[in-house]
Symmetry: C2
Subunit: 350 residues, 2 copies
């Protein structure tokens, strides 16, 4: 595996412990650090390393310059039996995310379906960990967040829209839940940076130049805009996510979202939405188990176009990684682990 | 306008009256016919003619061969304050859809957020009419349905997944709601049929041949599969829609959905999901009005790549058509109107 020599394997509980200590040393209360670390370690377990413990140094850099408040007391206001509004008070994103998820689950326990609209937040990690935690308790979820602007509205030439992540999860009492977690651009900006660094042309349809014209020149694309998946359809979905997660939550939206990389010391005021549905109200666990097994069998039995690549369900690769890494330990980049270890050993701030 | 000579303009109230009478003559109770006709006439008002009154002859053909029950008594079971399960009893789709929407709104009035999971249904028209009716009452919505299989799972070569429509709507007290209503294929099958009829190659990326290989040969594509928007991302979203709308609702899903065109006399057992959020619990009408106006202004002010094509919000074109056609009358195909007139004049069935 390329770069494998720069990777290390660490048991889940040790990684979690390190992450909790690093976040505590960065100023978080113990209970809050545990909630946030859980999301990030689950990201690494899924193999989503760009959204795992590698984010801790970045989060704590922003705490140091006053851009995030590590000691924020997240506020939850229940506005209806199934509905809560969460004010993250500019806390660490995965902490606000966990409080939002919990509020949505509480609503769903009371009303069958619940939602939490969160404002005053920051980058909350990937969606998959939240969807997994809900599915393990029998809840289907729809979860989304807005983000720093990197996409031009369809037909436009200015970045006014985030590459907003959107996810749906469905529980499965007989096995792995099915979880979709996607951003709405064709390709991630980080991939375009790799092509630019190698001086190679990138595939068509990934991005435009600064004038909004389609390009395969990666350097020009970095001055331009990411293209949404499916053209106007992905654009439409990115808009609707911002309306739900940003506008309706009372958070910033569109160009009101501050870029954390350009203004690390300023609050981003990101917004998230969490919707949870208590699947046990819709049918018995046995009923759901049988239907999920049948559904998966129909998909897995599809004749593959390439016999070497069987057809998979959304999130199936990540669920397999989770199972394997829980048994065998979590693979992380050595440099990421080293940084978190250093932060965990540092003298407490504040 | 090409084909304009085959179009006629008819006032909304006259079109609605004709549609109601045609559905009543087809066997529906007056109140049920009014609910279903409202959805279809709204589709025509939006300019979505393929999902408007042109569907009435098709629906009633299926009633005649026993594939749909025009007199079905739709059942609504409230399983939690915010949650209802709807059994369409194989009724006309837009009737089941309207009962589902009403049940979701009832849940949202009680709990702040509500959902209805509907089974035993048929083609329910476009999503936009339901989202509009909810938005007019101050509710945001997430609405989806499964459909006859026309898409191959990503990497597979057999149609096992529907081109499932998915929509999100957000109310706007100061003007038009923003509504996304999209299917999950790159292009509609009807468009591919047009290329095949003209013997012309179609654009890349629309479909595969029967072996799952990408093709621009429209005739080969008609024997193959539609491609989902954004490749694996659109595939993932289509799967999640079927899990929510089909599997969790207790309806048929994937290949269990019967094709209405191949088996017109057999119940399809389609499923829908309606989620409604009472936006008035999140903030005042004034707060929402200001934010929606600001959001729209940021998008509309985006410099366009083509100065002749300003940047638009999802559903903006359809909302403009609705306003114009409510004032000036509804444009429909003369042949579609003639068929509905004939059905409205026919002697009652049953």
């Amino acid at each position: 595996m390329p770069g494998a020599e720069n990777e290390v394997t660490i048991p889940e509980d040790r990684l979690l412990d390190l992450a909790v200590r690093a976040l505590e040393r960065g100023g978080m209360r113990a209970q809050d650090a545990t909630a946030a670390a859980r999301v990030l370690v689950l990201a690494d377990l899924f193999g989503l390393r760009t959204h795992g413990i590698s984010r801790i140094p970045q989060y704590l850099d922003r705490v140091r310059v006053g851009g995030i408040d590590a000691r924020a007391e997240v506020q939850v206001a229940r506005v209806a039996p199934g509905l809560a509004m969460v004010d993250g008070r500019n806390g660490i994103g995965p902490l606000v995310g966990m409080r939002g998820l919990e509020a949505a689950l509480e609503g769903a326990r009371a009303a069958g379906i619940g939602a939490a609209f969160a404002r005053g937040s920051n980058h909350f990690g990937p969606i998959m960990p939240y969807a997994l935690l809900a599915a393990e308790q029998g809840f289907a979820t729809i979860i989304a967040s807005n983000a720093t602007t990197t996409i031009a509205p369809w037909g436009g030439k200015d970045t006014r829209l985030g590459n907003n992540p959107f996810g749906i999860g469905v529980p499965n009492p007989g096995g792995d839940p099915v979880i979709l977690d996607m951003a709405l651009s064709v390709a991630a900006r980080a991939k375009i940076r790799e092509f630019a660094a190698r001086g190679e042309p990138m595939p068509e349809g990934w991005a435009t130049d600064a004038e909004g014209r389609p390009t395969t020149d990666a350097a020009a694309a970095l001055k331009g805009f990411l293209l949404p998946v499916g053209g106007h359809k992905g654009y439409g979905l990115a808009i609707m996510v911002d309306l739900l997660a940003g506008l309706l939550s009372g958070a910033a939206y569109l160009t009101h979202v501050r870029a954390w990389d350009k203004d690390p010391g300023v609050a981003q005021d990101l917004g998230h939405v969490f919707i949870a549905i208590d699947a046990s109200r819709l049918g018995s666990a046995e009923w759901l188990r049988e239907r999920m097994a049948d559904f998966a069998a129909i998909i897995h039995d599809t004749p593959p176009a390439d016999p070497a690549r069987p057809v998979m369900l959304p999130g199936e690769r990540e669920m397999a990684a989770l199972g394997r890494q829980r048994r065998e330990g979590v693979r992380v980049a050595a440099k990421d682990l080293r940084k978190v270890e250093e932060l965990a050993e540092a003298s407490p701030s504040g």
